[in-house]
């Protein structure tokens, strides 16, 4: 306890500093002016001024997902808070630890429809892990520290702290994090050892095992990722990763089958369908992964490692639930393997032969012969080839480009891939890149974007220029909302209702207007040169890559279909129409 009472605003700043926060993404307004005043008077915390509050949350997400630390947002009441809602929902869906401080009208005005008042705790209740309205300045320090604990413990997520203006002015006592413990919240991190043994027996007996890893491994930390790779190699099983899990196992590892799911690889999806033991680690059997549920991996025993008990048996009935932290659970599995491992030497040659056959389908092939037009896949292959030595951080927007990026960019390390998986938020990538670049000032940070998505938060170019962040926006410009158009072709007779953008800006001029650099490329022969220009130019760059307007993203499991019914290309599309049940799915 500090001896002298200090203002609520000072308590907020002191708590942030004591929690190890070095940067806050925010936007000022009337209700949070006291905090901005306290910020002004200190030097421990940096503030990054975004251009819209939604951008602040995505920036904090990018910061959090590239560092493993908690991202912090500071916005004002009313519209400041409501603008943050999309980002909070995004963080909840993808389990990203974020603290969002929102201003609120003074306590005596709450409920009076005061200027810039919104029921922030009411609005954000379903889109946060937890939220608080602080009515007493002496509760403030406790709430701040509790919020950090909640945001990063168990399954991480966003926490909102709503701060009435009078509480920020009031004087109160500060207490440090060491004095605070949440009264009841203690997530289980260690699974039942008996269950671990059960799992090991299943794995040892398996003839066609498959490891299916997700974002939970990355959330569990770098050590958990290393253990995950060790485990996969130890049991010598093929491994697929979800969109959120990319990087948990190095893409170059021979056990890696590529991404699973709707736009996952042929080999990953077939392996999922045909395996006899599935080991899900930090993944949640999302509908983008499972395809049609009653045809999902029909003959496998399923082991599910997850820290969130509500993930177990939510969509898919599992045989061995292991409720616990991925890292701790993997350590137990690794420790027990020596004893459980099968003594026979024949291994799983048949299973690997199957997998090699599936790999042989070369499911990511595309028309490589085109000299007149840039294929989006080609653009990403070249981007990967010319940048991977720089160990880049990749963010994406949402749509076809996102799926191509997941397919064609090979991630060797965790924490280098930031994408909006659960919520699918267009406009995520550019502000997320702001957060990543702030956390890693010297790194190469690329937002792989579509021209439609990037326009949803293009105002953050202004933030990028203000802080001289050398973010690279790599736009695959096909002038369509490509994924919308692809679905209109698949489900709606090719009637392109509102999916064409008729008045796109000149992205080169747009970049220049913000004070950044821009270049447009249309000729495949000039692509490498343009990418080099993008990397070598010291500041922010928008590279507008004009790509084939009509290219579609394959392979694809259409809605309502099973893993073994995937489409490899447009020629399959005509042969396998989408079922009526599939039509209503998203």
């Amino acid at each position: 306890m500090s001896a002298e009472p200090i203002s609520g605003a000072d308590i907020v700043i002191k708590a942030l500093v004591d929690q190890g926060v070095d940067v806050v993404f925010g936007y000022p307004g009337g209700a949070v002016l006291p905090i901005y005043d306290s910020l002004f008077k200190q030097n421990s915390l940096r503030h990054v001024l975004v251009r819209q509050e939604g951008g602040a949350v995505h920036a904090a997400e990018g910061y959090a997902r590239s560092t493993g630390k908690v991202g912090v947002v500071l916005v004002t009441s009313g519209p400041g808070a409501t603008n943050a809602v999309t980002g909070l929902t995004d963080a909840l869906m993808d389990s990203v630890p974020v603290i969002c401080l929102t201003g609120q009208v003074p306590t005596h005005l709450i409920g009076n429809d005061a200027f810039q008042e919104a029921d922030t705790t009411g609005i954000t209740r379903p889109c946060t892990k937890h939220n608080y309205l602080v009515r007493d300045v002496n509760e403030l320090a406790r709430v701040m520290h509790e919020a950090f604990y909640i945001a990063r413990s168990g399954r991480p997520g966003p926490v909102v702290i709503d701060l009435p203006k009078d509480v920020l002015f009031a004087l109160g006592r500060y207490a440090g994090p060491e004095d605070i413990q949440h009264k009841s919240y203690r997530p289980q991190t260690r699974p039942d050892p008996a269950r671990v043994e059960e799992a090991l027996k299943l794995i040892a007996k398996a003839e066609r095992p498959l490891v299916y890893g997700g974002g939970g491994i990355i959330n569990s930390g770098p050590e958990a990722c290393a253990r995950f790779a060790e485990f996969v190699r130890l049991i010598d099983a093929p491994c697929t990763l979800t969109l959120m899990g990319l990087g948990a196992l190095p893409a170059s590892d021979p056990h890696f089958l590529g991404m699973v799911g709707m736009h996952g690889t042929y080999e990953a999806n077939w392996a999922m369908h045909d395996c006899d033991v599935m080991i899900a680690v930090g993944s949640r059997f999302d509908d983008r992964v499972t395809g049609r549920l009653n045809a999902f991996s029909p003959n496998s025993k399923k082991i599910h490692v997850d820290i969130d008990p509500s993930s177990i048996n939510k969509n898919v009935r599992v045989d061995v639930p292991l409720v616990g932290d991925c890292g701790e659970t993997l350590a137990m599995l690794i420790a027990g393997w020596a004893e459980a491992a099968p003594r026979r030497a024949d291994g799983r040659a048949k299973w690997w032969a199957c997998i090699e056959e599936w790999r042989g389908r070369d499911c990511l092939r595309y028309d490589r012969g085109r000299k007149d037009i840039i294929k989006p896949q080609y653009a990403l292959e070249r981007l990967y080839a010319l940048t991977h030595e720089h160990d880049p951080f990749i963010t994406t927007e949402v749509g076809q480009h996102q799926m191509w990026a997941a397919q064609f960019f090979k991630f060797e390390k965790p924490f280098h891939w930031m994408t909006s998986g659960g919520l699918g938020t267009m406009g995520y990538g550019l502000p997320a890149a702001v957060g990543v670049q702030v956390a890693h000032p010297g790194a190469l940070v690329i937002d792989i974007a579509g021209e439609a998505s990037i326009l949803m938060n293009i105002q953050e170019m202004s933030t990028i220029c203000q802080y001289r962040l050398p973010v690279k926006a790599f736009i695959l410009n096909n002038q369509y909302m490509g994924m919308v158009r692809q679905w209109q072709e698949l489900l709606h007779g090719g009637r392109y209702s509102e999916s064409y953008t008729a008045a796109l800006p000149d992205f080169v001029k747009l970049a220049e207007a913000f004070g950044a650099n821009g270049r447009r490329v249309t000729d495949p022969a000039e692509l490498d040169d343009a990418i080099r220009y993008m990397i070598e130019t010291p500041g922010a760059v928008i590279l507008d890559v004009a790509v084939d307007e009509f290219e579609n993203c394959f392979p694809m499991i259409p809605s309502g279909a099973a893993h073994n019914e995937m489409l490899l290309g447009p020629e399959d599309e005509a042969r396998k129409p989408v079922s009526e049940e599939g039509m209503v799915l998203v």
């Binding site: 209740r125 309205l133 909640i150 009264k183 009841s184 969130d308 509500s310 177990i312 048996n313 939510k314």
Partner: protein, 167 residues
């Protein structure tokens, strides 16, 4: 489609602002049913409230409901009374009867059979109070309907496990 089961679930929560909204929002947001829900503080010194919720769903949904409830930060304990052995379930109803003559007398007679108490009376009305299982109360209400029943107020079920086991 698996069978729909009815479960009575007791939830011990920190009595803090918004906790009821959190629980109710969880049910509506995820499309679960609430057949009835009651809440009151049960431990003043530790500021704990007990929510009793009667819900219905497939076994998989019931399991999800419990897991989702446990995930709410201020939730201390979740107990599925239906699953965990015998329990006592009670509900209280206030029933207003309006009328004169034979029907009025008959309602009083039936109330006596059901051990309902008269808690308010005028020359033209009664308010009965009755406690019991939801089935018993439904039976009583059914009998009262033709006798001048004009208004019902029910608490919803509260429940507790039988025997020595406790939260």
């Amino acid at each position: 489609m698996a069978d729909i089961e009815r479960h009575t679930i007791a939830v011990l929560v920190d009595n803090e602002p918004g906790i009821l909204a959190r629980v109710v929002g969880l049910f509506s947001g995820r499309g679960y049913n609430i057949d009835s829900l009651t809440v009151a503080e049960v431990d003043r010194s530790n500021s704990l409230s007990r929510i009793t919720v009667v819900t219905s769903g497939t076994p998989m949904i019931i399991e999800q409901i419990k897991a989702q409830l446990s995930r709410v930060v201020p939730v201390r304990k979740v107990q599925d009374l239906t699953d965990e052995g015998p329990f006592v379930e009670r509900e209280l109803v206030l029933i207003k009867m309006v009328g004169k003559g034979e029907a009025r007398i008959e309602s009083l007679r039936l109330a006596d059979v059901f051990r309902a108490r008269v808690v308010d009376s005028t020359t033209e009305s009664f308010v009965f109070e009755i406690t019991g299982s939801s089935e018993k109360l439904n039976a009583f209400i059914g009998l009262m309907e033709p006798l001048g029943l004009v208004e019902i107020s029910r608490t919803g079920a509260v429940a507790i496990a039988r025997g020595t086991s406790h939260f």
